[in-house]
């Protein structure tokens, strides 16, 4: 693609006054972009460097090799956080995917009040995770929330105390996270459903396909690129989940709902173990890369195939 600028300026060498005259535009373009790019690169390298130093309260120079990494990986805190991430990540992504898909298919049936319903399913996305976590911590608190309500209504043996149950507490985060962001999956799926070629649907209907067959065989297969995108975006959220857990369980009871982002924060700002905190942050980055790199490769292959077709 040749562009307007370079062809125009290449005609003659830029003179000094020209450069000075164009200084404001250079500043407006380059300073923010360079600052942004520079801080992303240098801050990441900086954190990686700290993760190899014996830093505790303040960053110090020195080299301890992988000692911070082995210490973090061996800690119970991280092991629980990692197990929780596997459970939370897969349960949340799968369930919000299914919820979003179901809602999108239902809304796609030309129902009345679609706009209102769509707004209802999407409004949690406008609310902060802190608010979501706080509200769900009330609803799920057995002493004041749903369990108490059911008890007051007369069913006194009813139990719904996951929030204070070590084994089940992680599921409260799954519930709140699905409530907050399944609307996102719905919005993307609905856009996908609406872009399915009407002729294909008509042809399938003429062939006598019923609604279930139509969805299973014809419409849903076209949605899988969107499905991959939804999974990646939701996994990205799951891996860096912090606010929601902080407001809902704060990692408790005990450390039962610990997640990597909480471990990082705890090490860096509460235990003043900067080296280990940085190592945990780098581990988070590696987990993220394990998701994003295959996705990037897949996107690259898709584009190339699209280019050849």
């Amino acid at each position: 693609m040749t562009d307007a600028v370079s062809t125009a300026t290449r005609a003659g060498r830029p003179v000094i006054s020209d450069v000075v005259g164009r200084l404001p535009e250079y500043l407006m373009i380059w300073v923010p972009l360079l600052l942004s790019a520079a801080h992303l690169i240098s801050f990441s390298l900086w954190t990686i460097w700290i993760s190899f130093t014996p830093s505790t309260l303040v960053p110090v120079s020195g080299w301890v090799g992988l000692r911070n990494y082995t210490a973090v990986l061996a800690s119970r805190n991280w092991q629980i956080a990692f197990d929780n991430l596997l459970l939370f990540g897969s349960a949340f992504v799968l369930l919000s995917l299914l919820t979003g898909l179901l809602l999108a298919i239902l809304l796609d049936q030309r129902i009345r009040g679609e706009n209102v319903l769509r707004s209802i399913f999407l409004y949690p996305l406008a609310v902060s995770f802190v608010v979501t976590g706080t509200v769900w911590s009330w609803l799920l608190n057995p002493g004041i929330g749903i369990q108490k309500l059911v008890h007051d209504l007369g069913w006194t043996s009813f139990r719904f105390d996951w929030l204070v149950d070590r084994d089940m507490a992680i599921w409260t985060i799954v519930i709140a996270a699905i409530w907050q962001s399944s609307g996102f999956a719905m919005a993307l799926f609905l856009a996908g459903l609406r872009s399915v070629d009407a002729d294909i649907i008509k042809a399938a209907q003429i062939d006598g396909a019923g609604p279930f067959r139509l969805y299973r065989r014809v419409i849903l297969p076209t949605l899988w690129p969107i499905t991959v995108t939804v999974i990646v975006v939701q996994l990205q959220f799951a891996i860096s989940a912090f606010d929601l857990v902080r407001a809902l369980t704060n990692g408790g009871p005990g450390i039962a709902t610990q997640l990597p982002a909480l471990v990082v924060y705890d090490l860096m700002f509460q235990r003043s173990q900067l080296g280990r905190g940085a190592a945990a942050a780098v581990l988070m980055l590696l987990i993220l890369l394990a998701v994003l790199l295959p996705y990037a490769a897949w996107r690259y292959i898709q584009r190339r195939q699209a280019g050849h077709a």
């Binding site: 693609m1 307007a4 600028v5 370079s6 125009a8 535009e25 407006m28 923010p32 972009l33 942004s36 790019a37 992303l40 690169i41 240098s42 801050f43 900086w46 954190t47 700290i50 239902l106 049936q109 030309r110 129902i111 707004s119 209802i120 999407l122 409004y123 996305l125 406008a126 609310v127 902060s128 995770f129 802190v130 608010v131 979501t132 706080t134 509200v135 769900w136 009330w138 609803l139 004041i144 929330g145 108490k148 309500l149 007051d152 409530w179 919005a187 019923g210 139509l214 995108t229 891996i239 606010d243 902080r246 982002a261 924060y265 905190g277 940085a278 942050a281 988070m284 980055l285 993220l288």
Partner: protein
């Protein structure tokens, strides 16, 4: 199959979507109702219930009454903090992102794809990778625990999103438009003001809504780089529930939650279409 008549199948569809809608609305309804119940009333029953008489006083107390630590100024100072961070950071990052997106998509310069590629990495890199460096840098330049520091962070980080949104929008503008304007002697900014900006309303609305919602709702930076009276409202809400954990005041807390969530909820109600567009644009990257 796609008719509007009420067959049993369609009644089932309406039933299921209504149930889902009720489940999505329930938490909001519970908090709104609780914000109008007295603390005693909630303590006697549960969080879920109808107000016996409307306790509007909760809002007054939440806004300017309750105490966190030694200060008893309610949520108002923290709302002000959030506004003083969110509004400037939203405006500056949107403007810079528009100029950057315009430069990268329509002017092209050497290395632009590289710089732009690195900037968009900011969408993926976890915030945790930048917490320590930001702490050190903010301390060195004297902006730790200031609202200015938060504005700076959100502006620089927000540029990743704003530049991406605007670039993706501007690449669709035909180059001939720029070329013709250049032949007429118009420069970079003149073309931006006269040609690009008038075409930009939709993408600027999307970007502003996205940035405002994200910065207002942000918590990690707020809690890491500010303390006490300097914190944004998200961090203050957490501090509030920790401070009164012994004697909960759920009525007042519910009112505080409503107040804190109101700005982004209002923006969502007013600009829902643009909100969704930003959501999908941010996802597809």
């Amino acid at each position: 199959m796609r008719d509007r008549s009420f067959t049993p199948g369609r009644i089932l569809i309406y039933l299921v979507v209504t149930l889902f809608a009720a489940a999505y609305l329930a938490p909001l309804a519970v908090v709104v109702l609780n914000s109008l119940r007295t603390n005693e009333e909630i303590a006697q029953g549960s969080m879920i219930g109808w107000p016996q008489h409307l306790a509007w006083g909760n809002y007054a107390k939440a806004w300017s009454g309750f105490c966190v630590a030694e200060t008893c100024a309610g949520i108002r100072p923290y709302m002000l903090n959030s506004a003083l961070v969110t509004i400037p950071a939203t405006i500056i990052s949107t403007l810079l992102g528009a100029v950057a997106g315009y430069a990268v998509s329509l002017w092209r310069f050497r290395g632009d794809n590289w710089i732009y590629g690195i900037v968009t990495l900011g969408l993926f890199l976890p915030q945790q990778m930048r917490l320590l460096p930001w702490t050190i840098v903010l301390r060195d330049i004297g902006l730790i625990n200031t609202l200015t520091g938060l504005v700076l962070i959100h502006t620089i980080q927000g540029l990743s999103f704003t530049a991406l949104f605007c670039r993706n929008y501007y690449v669709a503008i035909p180059h001939e438009l720029i070329r013709a304007a250049r032949i007429d002697g118009a420069g970079f900014f003149r073309i931006f003001w006269r040609i690009i900006l008038p075409l930009s309303a939709p993408i600027l609305i999307v970007t502003v809504i996205w940035q405002f919602t994200h910065i207002w709702n942000e918590f990690l930076y707020g809690v890491t780089f500010t303390t006490g009276q300097q914190q944004p409202v998200t961090a203050a809400l957490i501090a509030l529930s920790a401070a009164i954990a012994d004697i909960p005041q759920h009525g007042v807390q519910s009112a505080a939650v409503i107040i804190a969530a109101l700005p982004t909820l209002l923006i969502y109600l007013l600009g829902g279409r643009y909100f969704v567009r930003g959501l999908t644009a941010g996802a597809v990257k």
